[in-house]
Amino acid sequence: MLPRLWRYGLVLSRQKHLADDLVQATCVRALERAEQFAAGTRLDRWLLSIMHSIWLNELRSQRVRQGQGFVDAEHELSFDGETEAQDHVLAAQVIKRVNALPEAQRETVFLTYVEGLSYKETAEILHIPVGTVMSRLAAARLKLAETATPRAMSDKSTGERR
């Protein structure tokens, strides 16, 4: 579970040291509220949900307040230089594209398509209606399609919206 939490922290913050902080804050909060968990939700969902709130309400605003802003999407959440195997190149490309999405779309794509949650579960973790999950995914897919390989795009001269 720790690596999965860290990965979500990285998707949210796009920086490794912030992902570390997020894991720590999440575990502290989870232990503080442990009895809430006994109420019977799935532990992994619950921890993801706590991390989401901490990011939204605490760490992110702190970053903005401190005027540090966010690093350029080009420079983080990527692989170390040594790991250049073919699979990793492909994976790095996918991550880079997801990473370039606006935050709300990014985490919705992550929870639904990476963590494999249903729309309903994703909505619960993010505290948004299912309809918002749907519109974020639709917007994200369009944006990802735009940045897809030129070969894939060349076949798509039609497909005008409505």
């Binding site: 989870a30 442990a34 699979d87 494999g116 639709a138 897809a148």
Partner: protein, 261 residues
């Protein structure tokens, strides 16, 4: 999510939900039909499909990058201040917590030590506050509103506390009774009567046989909740919720009348 007008194209949201297998059978059939009969719909679906990528595969490789050992060490080294105010949760609550975190692979033993050593100072009101702060209106959503089961709950709690609890006696002005149950705080029984206040959310009237104060109403704040407490000759009482103190004091006087010594 319905799509009643056959002449307007389905939204992108609906098409994406179709791709993600999130539509029910009727909706899926409607889209299937449109894909066969309306080329622009099929083209739009293709475009949305282009946004599909091996997400899971890509991000699974990130898992290997997680500094798991460092995170584990960091958890083991959490400073005492972080968990100091946990001090008053019951050992039973802790054991459940510890079990859940062992499953999660999170080391909780160090937290347990702090917890254990700090326990017992603050008394039952702190314990109740720890518990009540976790309540949301949804916590009380699925409780039975059947008067017969309420009566049975009150009888059972009253018997264990040596106190006559009737529905009338425990009615609080402005709040709807939801449930009575017994909680065990380090071997001391606490009767917890839970109510829902339309404006301020869940609140509880808690009763224990450990007499700790005077008949005079006293107030305090715990965990961001307001508490009014008092004692009879045989029992200690507390009302806890987000209601303003004035509200709680009115309710407390009503409870005092209903539950004399």
């Amino acid at each position: 999510m319905t799509h009643s007008n056959a002449h307007s194209p389905p939204s992108d949201e609906l098409l994406v939900a179709y791709l993600d297998g999130e539509l029910d059978r009727d909706q899926r059939q409607q889209i299937d039909h449109l894909l066969r009969t309306e080329p622009p719909v099929a083209a739009r679906l293709d475009q949305l499909k282009c946004g599909d990528m091996p997400f899971r595969q890509a991000f699974d490789s990130v898992l290997d990058e997680a500094p798991t050992e460092r995170l584990q060490a960091m958890l083991n080294a959490l400073p005492p201040a972080v968990s100091a105010h946990r001090a008053t949760m019951s050992r039973r609550g802790f054991l459940a917590t510890a079990a859940s975190f062992v499953v999660a692979g999170i080391a909780a033993d160090r937290l347990f030590m702090q917890w254990h050593s700090a326990e017992s100072e603050d008394g039952w009101r702190a314990s109740v506050a720890e518990y009540m702060v976790l309540y949301t209106p949804q916590t009380l959503d699925h409780l039975s509103s059947d008067p017969t089961s309420h009566r049975a709950q009150l009888d059972s709690v009253g018997n264990q506390l040596g106190l006559s609890l009737t529905a009338d006696a425990v009615t609080l002005p402005g709040a709807e009774f939801r449930r009575a149950q017994i909680l065990d705080y380090e071997g001391v029984l606490i009767g917890q009567l839970t109510y829902m206040d339309a404006r301020h959310g869940p609140l509880a009237l808690c009763i224990t046989t450990e007499r700790t104060g005077s008949a005079k109403l006293a107030t305090e704040e715990r965990m961001g909740l307001n508490v009014v407490y008092w004692s009879s000759a045989s029992h200690a009482f507390m009302l806890i919720g987000k209601n303003p103190f004035e509200d709680l004091q009115i309710m407390a006087r009503s409870a005092q009348r209903g539950l004399p010594a």
